[in-house]
């Protein structure tokens, strides 16, 4: 009788240890799946965030490009609206003043654009070779 009991206890111990081992293995697998799930979620979020940033950036870029094209046309329309040859012939000194003022303004605006580009790196300066 005691031999049967010992046998049953032995079988039960073996079954318990097998179940414990199986449970530990499943817990490890579960942990690995949880980790993979989290990493994949993070990866998807990161990709979505990058895509959003790039889309917004490209739309802004497109809008500004159109704005610069319009600005250029607006400046050049001055020549279409006025007959510069006729005006220069009639009032050379007046046109001379305006032409020089226009050149000064456009050069200053180009310098301003380049200054804005230079400031993008937070003020790091490349020095001029000719001063």
């Amino acid at each position: 009788m005691s031999k049967i009991l010992l046998g049953v206890v032995g079988v039960l111990l073996m079954a318990c240890s097998f179940l414990y081992w199986q449970n530990s293995r499943l817990a490890e697998i579960n942990q690995a799946f949880d980790l993979r799930d989290k990493e994949q979620k993070d990866a998807i979020e990161s990709l979505q965030s990058d895509f959003k940033l790039q889309t917004e950036g490209l739309l802004e870029l497109q809008s500004k490009t159109q704005q610069y094209e319009i600005e250029m046309q607006r400046y050049l329309d001055v020549f279409k609206r006025h007959n510069l040859s006729k005006l220069a012939f009639a009032k050379p000194s007046l046109i001379e003043t305006r032409v020089n003022k226009g050149t000064k303004n456009v050069f200053e605006s180009i310098e301003e654009v380049s200054r804005n580009i230079d400031m993008l790196d937070n003020g790091l300066q490349l020095q001029s070779n000719t001063d």
């Binding site: 993070d42 990161s46 990058d50 500004k64 220069a88 020089n100 456009v106 654009v113 580009i117």
Partner: protein, 105 residues
């Protein structure tokens, strides 16, 4: 050899794909443009004599480079075209800096 035995469980290899955060070093941007302004003389028959005598007095001899009004308009167009290009390129630089700068920075 031990793992060839089917009774001993094999260790599974987990393959996970995730994007790497790249650290792109941003270059120092070019020095700003420093433009010098030329002086335009507008000359017609009304002030031709005055212009010629002024040039001779200022330069010591009668020599100058001349440009017709349509050519001046071309120069103005070219300058505007360069300005447009610089502006558009600036926006591209801004875009690339934005998308390649780490969010944590």
């Amino acid at each position: 050899m031990v793992y060839s035995c089917s009774l001993i469980p094999t260790k599974q290899v987990e393959i996970i794909s995730k994007p790497l955060e790249r650290n792109i070093v941003q270059p120092v941007l070019p020095r700003e443009i420093d433009l010098k302004e030329p002086y335009w003389y507008v000359v017609s028959t009304k002030n031709l004599e005055e212009f010629l005598s002024n040039i001779e007095k200022d330069q010591g001899q009668l020599v100058f480079l001349a440009m017709s009004v349509p050519d001046y308009e071309l120069m103005a167009y070219n300058t505007q075209e360069l300005k447009r290009y610089i502006n558009e390129l600036k926006e591209v630089v801004v875009y690339y800096r934005k998308v390649t700068t780490n969010k944590s920075e």
